[in-house]
């Protein structure tokens, strides 16, 4: 039960805190800010807001270093193994899922992280949005299972 020990849960909490802080500071929690980045039609008029490119690049760089450090270690600090994603193939489910997510993201300016973080200061309509998110995710779970062993079997 490694994942019920205090250091493991404290690490989860620290990561969540940092993640929430980052979403607020970067203004990813402002749907309009996100949409102004996604609005490439504003590029010719100079009205495009490229800020969010400045969010993802340092995020990837920091994580890239962590992945490199992790490769030199047999296991993470508080668990027996690194949990690599079960799915490896590039298939219709990956592309179709990403495309559907892209439509929803473009309609709302909210991806899952900000959707949860917005609970801290919920705008009107957030709760029905979250209920729809849960319902959509549940519908997807009828296709893609939860749990490591089921996912491994499904990925074959």
């Amino acid at each position: 039960m490694a994942n019920l020990r205090l250091p493991y849960l404290a690490t989860s909490a620290l990561s969540g805190l940092l993640f929430g802080a980052g979403l607020y500071v970067s203004q990813m929690v402002d749907p309009l800010k996100v949409l102004r980045f996604l609005d490439f039609t504003a590029i010719p008029s100079g009205g495009w807001d490229p800020s969010l490119a400045f969010v993802i690049v340092p995020a990837i760089l920091v994580m890239f270093i962590a992945v490199r450090i992790g490769r030199r270690r047999p296991a993470p600090l508080f668990d027996r193994e690194f949990h690599e994603p079960e799915y490896k193939r590039i298939d219709a489910r990956l592309v179709g899922g990403a495309a559907l997510f892209g439509v929803g993201w473009g309609m709302s300016g909210i991806c899952p992280g900000p959707a949860i973080a917005l609970i801290a200061f919920p705008p009107d309509g957030l709760w029905i949005f979250l209920l729809a998110l849960i319902a959509g995710s549940y519908a997807g779970s009828l296709i893609v299972p939860s749990g490591h062993s089921k996912r491994l079997a499904d990925a074959k």
Binding site: Q27, M28, V29, P50, R73, F78, L94, M107, G125, A132
Partner: protein
Amino acid sequence: MESFTPLTAALGGALIGLAAAVLWLGNGRIAGISGIFGQLLPPAQTVVWRLVFLVALVAGAWATAWLFPALGVGGVEPAALVSPPATWGVPPPVWVIIAGLLIGFGTKIGNGCTSGHGVCGLARLSLRSLVAVIVFFGVAIITVAVTGIV
């Protein structure tokens, strides 16, 4: 471009990267929000850390807004959800529900969102994640152009 905020964007991005680094090196878990959230239901034992992470995520956003309102969107004042394009005649709740369903379903079957594929996957040099990122960014950009929602 009065709304261009590269410094706070980069600081926030570094914090998100640090969050992902802590979860990976500490617990060997990918900080993908749709994954952490979307696998809450059946497997009992991992529910605890997932919930701890998500509650902390809300607390982190709230505490930062409260302590450093000038850094982000203006304190604990909520940033409104966007209204559907006026000419489309879709009621706002319907728009919000469709978007939520698509995001929940799409990230579940595509196994990841902006954080899991975008931050962690690209950092792991995953070709699968690169494909997902190109598709969801591309489709989101097209969706914004088509709807004229901004």
